[in-house]
């Protein structure tokens, strides 16, 4: 068992969060230190988890820890943690985004203590979700992400922040309790008394198809709202537009990934029968999300809204790659989650910076900003190009893999997402053309110049993985493959 690195990570984030809350104006230093420690711990996790490959039905083994928490004759709950390649890559994403967000919001002057504390709590919850191996523990971390984000939006957000925060909370809370019921049905109908993942993954796939299908529907709803899948997506634009920049970065970069991770780990791996039975529904939802996100994004004038809708589009591709149900598809899905995490993080940062610098995010009233703010313009360029899937940036291998897997599975249907991707490329190109080139429009706010150092540094933290893993996606792929994905066809 060795060193309980996962518990240490969670504990260090918790201590950091608590310290930030009381540190007042020095909270940013506490938060930075905590984030750096978290990065180091993530590296340690990679070293510790380099284990054997896993087949479907197997449990993540890296850094595993188990302690008994509640013990009744009919119900055993464990504090059980463990990671595999999928979790590790997403924890890595958490580390990048956490560090970037903290650095980016270095100058937060409105109640800095709670601000940094809540960000660290969000990270804590996410790491917990990515590593929990017990139904109750998973649910606790899942909900634990909600609460800090509720306050981040509600306190630091835009004019309609209270409405957005409440909507976000209600939507995701309803979804999560439905998910919990689904998982509990799995536990008890498979004749188990333990909420442990290993017990679940050993028994649940053997349940009758009807049970599996009903449970899968509940789980699809539960995780789909977080994704967000199109009929359940309406909380997202509100939450994103009203959230402060740091909140948006975590929301898009991290919270949406919880949905994808949940669907893979706690959905299709537990009820493969139900999933295959209802796969057409998943395809339809994926196509819907891809199309809807893209078309609506095209009609947006607010830069942040545009990025938010493009998130729906990208997460739709993730769902499509999951729906394909192949080794390649799942690999691409996880890779794309990582890619979208860093890219959308960067894009939300630049739209935040555009807002700070020019006092507006309205694309129609901005233009030709490159001469005045070259660094910002470069970042917009990198973010947009990465988002539209330019080769040598991190999204390309992921999207390529997803589309390839779709083609292998459903042949010419791949044309739907492919054509929509052209639209996606179009709206990013259109945005760049409006914003970066042409005659200057929109005046910088009084005394504003190119970005302050911390905003630059925050963006730089995210550019590193965008470029690094764009050129060397193999690094991530090797890690991701060290998971149950490997057992798929």
């Amino acid at each position: 068992m060795g060193i309980p690195i996962l518990s240490i990570t969670l504990a260090s984030l918790a201590v950091g969060a608590a310290a930030s809350f009381v540190a007042g104006s020095r909270a940013r230093w506490v938060a930075l230190a905590t984030a750096l420690v978290f990065v180091a711990e993530t590296a340690a996790m990679f070293l510790g988890a380099w284990g054997p490959a896993l087949a479907p039905g197997q449990v993540p083994v890296g850094d595993a820890e188990t302690y008994r928490w509640i013990s009744l004759p009919w119900l055993q709950v464990n504090y059980a943690l463990g990671v595999d390649g999928i979790s590790l890559v997403l924890i890595l994403l958490t580390a990048f985004l956490g560090l970037a967000t903290i650095v980016y919001s270095w100058n937060e002057s409105h109640r800095p203590g709670p601000w940094f504390g809540l960000i660290l709590l969000t990270l804590l919850g996410s790491v917990g979700v990515f590593s929990a191996l017990d139904v109750l523990l998973f649910f606790l971390f899942w909900e634990a992400v909600l609460v800090p984000m509720f306050f981040i939006i509600g306190y630091w957000g835009g004019p309609r922040r209270r409405y957005a925060a409440l909507k976000f909370f209600i939507y995701t809370h309803v979804a999560s309790v439905v998910m919990l019921v689904g998982l509990l049905v799995l536990v008890f109908y498979s004749g188990s008394t333990s909420l442990d993942y290993s017990a679940l993954v050993a028994r649940a796939p053997a349940l009758p198809i009807v049970t599996q299908s009903v449970v899968f529907l509940a789980l699809l709803f539960g995780f789909g709202v977080k994704f967000p899948v199109v009929p359940f997506h309406t909380w997202l634009p509100d939450a994103h537009v009203e959230a402060p920049t740091g909140g948006s970065v975590l929301l898009a970069g991290l919270l949406l990934k919880l949905g994808g991770y949940g669907l893979i780990r706690w959905g299709i791996l537990l009820v493969p029968g139900g999933f295959l039975h209802l796969d057409p529904i998943v395809y339809v939802l994926a196509f819907l999300s891809i199309a809807w996100g893209s078309v609506v994004a095209l009609a947006q004038r607010d830069m942040k809204r545009l990025v938010a809708y493009s998130s729906i589009n990208h997460m739709g591709i993730v769902l499509l790659a999951i729906a394909v149900h192949s080794s390649l598809g799942l690999l691409a899905a996880v890779l794309l989650m990582f890619a979208h995490g860093v890219v959308s993080g960067l894009l939300f940062m630049v739209s935040g910076s555009v807002h700070h610098t020019f006092g507006t995010r309205d694309l129609a009233s901005l233009g030709g900003i490159t001469p005045g703010t070259p660094f910002l313009a470069t970042m917009i360029m990198i973010g947009s190009l990465a988002s539209l899937g330019l080769p040598a940036l991190v999204s390309f291998p992921a999207e390529f893999g997803a589309l390839l897997a779709t083609y292998v599975a459903v042949s010419y249907w791949v044309l739907i997402p492919l054509l929509i991707l052209v639209v996606t490329a179009a709206f990013y190109l259109w945005m760049m053309q409006r914003l970066l080139f042409g005659p200057p429009r929109g005046l910088p706010a009084e005394g504003a110049h190119d970005l302050p150092f911390f905003e630059r540094a925050g963006m730089a933290v995210l550019v590193v993985p965008i470029v690094l893993f764009g050129i060397l996606p193999g690094l991530l792929v090797t890690v991701i493959a060290n998971s149950p994905i490997r057992g798929y066809p």
Partner: protein, 523 residues
């Protein structure tokens, strides 16, 4: 010849509380009217009685005990079937719950002004009501049970009305009294029908009755009992009185009513209905109204399950529309009763354990919530949600405490309210069949309830107060104007709510084994 010494030692907790009640009245007569003294007597007595009960349970506090000593039930079902009372471990767990409510309310009321007319009477009545509650928990006979409920009821009618000059409380007391009398009549009528059918009013004897002589009589009798007890538990459609009474009663009394005395009705539900719910042996020998063989077992479950869903949905829907905090809490209390009924409808030991924890959680959170309401009212802040704007920033201590209570009531994780609902709904799913839908209904209800709790939190933490200035403290009261007693009670509750939310294991184990005993031994 009755051995009085033995009898007294058997009923040690009850004796302690009754003696304290008499002492309080005596002190009043002797002219000792300082609230601190009477409150101290009341709190100390309930704490002492609580210790006796815990000792009876044979558990050292905070140690994880998987099973209770099996000799705990003094009387086997056979001997209990001729007795008026029987000590079951579940009954003791409930005594624990009741006494904690009494203790908390006594502590919190220590800061009420001594000059208030009838202040000592308040504590005397509180203790008398507690005596009744303790007897409910050990009842083995229907008449004993109903009389014990009556002791509590009569005391609480007076408690609601003890502020004699206040028209609002008098109106509430009148409503409470009339409805209470009606429910008593219904219950006793039901009991008399059951006596006609079985020739006994002993619950154990009824449960053990080989065949039911007159099925129609039994069904009608249980229907009347159900109606009578449903008033006490505020089951929809027998709930209408509760909101007016909780709203009109003084805040500490509301806390005691919603948090404490309402729960005796639930334990009475356990006693009265687990017989028919658990005993499938009635299934075959049952032919009401000459309609041929009829399986009463699922019918009881269905009726209770339907009432549970109706109660929680209705309570939640109405809570959504409330503008006054106290009325919102009252409706939320109704909906919470619905969750507890789920456990009774299912009747398995996990479900009973879950319902018991839910009852305990509700005692803590609802008592705490009403105490905060009382504290806020004492600061001169109005009763509407809008009046509470910005309170979380002005009074972080009260704000955070109230937030914890509401989060617990909403079933948000890391509070005991979440754990209890989690166990209860897990038990429903574990029971399979259509009980899963009870769990789904419960879960959706609890998710919907977040909405109205969150509205209050939003007002308290996100919105600015439009009050001219922070209201002045009452001055003579310590702990920031709240009074030390009330502040302490609220703090204790808040800590326990979180503590049990994080580490519920030992308590849950005790409740589980108590529930197992209960199910094994019959009603």
């Amino acid at each position: 010849m009755v051995d009085f010494v033995a009898l007294l030692s058997t009923f040690l907790p009850e004796v302690v509380i009754a003696a304290a009640a008499l002492l309080v009245f005596l002190l009043d007569v002797l002219g000792v009217r300082r609230t601190e003294v009477t409150a101290g007597v009341s709190a100390a007595a309930s704490l002492l009685a609580l210790l006796f009960v815990v000792a009876d349970l044979g558990i050292a506090p905070f140690s994880a005990v998987a099973t209770l000593p099996s000799g705990l039930l003094d009387s086997s079902p056979a001997s209990a079937s001729t007795s008026l009372y029987a000590f079951t471990s579940l009954g003791l767990v409930f005594q624990m719950i009741f006494l904690s409510a009494t203790f908390l309310v006594s502590l919190a009321s220590a800061s009420r002004p001594s000059a208030e007319p009838g202040a000592p009477t308040f504590f005397g009545l509180l203790l008398l009501a507690s005596v009744g509650m303790l007897f409910v928990a050990v009842a083995a006979d229907l008449i004993f049970l109903l009389l014990a409920i009556e002791i509590t009821s009569v005391s609480t009618y007076l408690l609601v009305a003890y502020r004699r000059r206040d028209r609002r409380t008098i109106e509430a007391a009148m409503k409470f009294y009339i409805i209470g009398a009606l429910s008593t009549v219904l219950s006793f009528f039901g009991a008399s029908l059951l006596f006609g059918a079985f020739g006994t009013t002993n619950l154990y004897a009824i449960a053990l009755a080989p065949a039911t002589p007159s099925a129609a009589l039994v069904l009608v009798g249980y229907a009347f009992l159900l109606a009578g007890l449903a008033f006490k538990v505020t089951v929809v459609p027998f709930h209408a009185w509760a909101v007016d009474v909780y709203d009109g009663a003084p805040d500490d009394v509301s806390a005691f009513l919603a948090g404490g005395t309402k729960k005796i009705g639930l334990f009475a539900f356990f006693l009265v209905f687990l017989g028919p719910v658990l005993l499938a042996r009635w299934a075959t020998s049952f032919s009401p109204f000459g309609l041929g063989p009829f399986n009463a077992h699922p019918v009881f479950q269905l009726v209770l399950g339907a009432l549970a869903v109706l109660t929680m949905t209705f309570g939640n829907l109405l809570a959504l529309w409330q503008k006054e905090i106290k009325r919102m809490l009252a409706y939320s209390s109704i909906s919470q009763a619905g969750y507890m009924l789920i456990g009774i409808a299912i009747g398995t030991s996990p479900a009973i354990a879950g319902a018991t924890l839910q009852i305990f959680a509700h005692v803590l959170m609802k008592t705490g919530a009403f105490l905060v309401v009382g504290a806020v009212a004492a600061l001169g802040i109005g009763p509407l949600v809008d009046d509470w704007r910005g309170l979380g920033q002005e009074r972080p201590y009260l704000g955070v405490a109230f937030a914890l209570m509401l989060l617990g009531l909403a079933g948000i994780p890391l509070t005991v309210g979440f754990v209890s609902k989690f166990v209860l709904f897990s038990a429903a799913i574990q029971a399979e069949g259509y009980f899963v839908w009870l769990a789904v209904a419960g879960v959706l209800n609890s998710a919907a309830s977040v909405f109205y709790y969150a509205r209050v939190l939003k007002a308290m933490f996100f919105e600015r107060s439009d009050r001219p200035a922070a209201p002045s403290n009452a001055g003579r009261l310590g702990a920031n104007g709240l009074g030390y007693g009330r502040a302490a009670a609220i703090a204790i509750i808040a800590v326990v709510v979180v503590l049990l939310g994080i580490y519920p294991g030992p308590l849950l184990s005790v409740m589980q084994s108590a529930a197992q005993h209960f199910v094994l031994l019959g009603p």
